[in-house]
Subunit: 114 residues, 2 copies
C-alpha cells in the first residue's frame, strides 16, 4: 500500500502545445500500477492543454476551478465536481476561463495487448 | 465527449460487508471506457469499506474527510488531497474516523486479456 499527499509528487511542466499547465504523475507503472496512470494537472488562469487527439481515452475529475472543454466538435463548460470522459481518437482541449487555478485529475490507460 | 456533475449519477448502497458506504459509478464500460472505471464513494462517519482482497488494484484520490486505511498489514491515516494505491491481492479497508463524510474516487481496471 502507498499513501501520500499529492503535494509530495513533483510538479512538472506539461507537454508541448500547452500554456500554464503542470502535471504531477501520482500513480504510475513504476509504483506497480500496470493498467492505468493517475495524473493531477494544475492549469493557471488563461492556461490550456494542447488541442490534439490520440488513441487512448481520458477519464477526468475536476477538483477546483472552472473552464471550457472542447471535444467531439462541441464546447461545454466545466466546474469543480464535474466528470469528463474523452473517448479515444476524439480531438479535445481544456481551457481555464476563470480567475483561479483549475485542478483536475486525468487518468489514462497503459497500452493494452489486445 | 461526456461532461456531467457527479451529482447526476445515482448513488447506490455499496457492497456487502460495508457500513455507511455508497457509490456512484461515474465512468464505465457502458460509456465507452474499455480499460478502467471511475467510481465516487461517500462514507458516513463511523462507516467503513469491507476488509477484503481481490486480484485487481485500487487507485484512490481522497476528495474530502479523513480516516484510516488498512493495507498490507499496516494502518495509515489519510485526509483530503491524499493518494492511495492498493496493489492487487493486498487485503485492505478504509475507515472514516472523522465527524464528516469521507468522499473519495476509487478507480479499478476492467479485466485484462493478458
Amino acid at each position: 500500500m502507498r499513501v501520500f499527499s499529492y503535494h509530495e509528487v513533483e510538479s512538472k511542466k506539461a507537454e508541448e502545445g500547452a500554456k500554464g499547465l503542470s502535471v504531477r504523475w501520482l500513480i504510475t507503472k513504476e509504483m506497480g500500477a500496470e493498467n492505468f496512470a493517475m495524473r493531477l494537472f494544475e492549469m493557471k488562469p488563461d492556461g490550456y492543454s494542447p488541442r490534439h487527439s490520440h488513441p487512448w481515452e481520458h477519464e477526468v475529475y475536476v477538483l477546483e476551478g472552472e473552464g471550457v472543454v472542447y471535444g467531439g466538435g462541441e464546447e461545454k463548460r466545466f466546474e469543480a465536481g464535474d466528470v469528463i470522459f474523452i473517448p479515444p481518437n476524439e480531438e479535445h482541449q481544456l481551457i481555464n476561463t476563470g480567475d483561479k487555478v483549475v485542478r483536475f485529475l486525468c487518468l489514462i490507460p497503459y497500452a493494452r495487448t489486445e
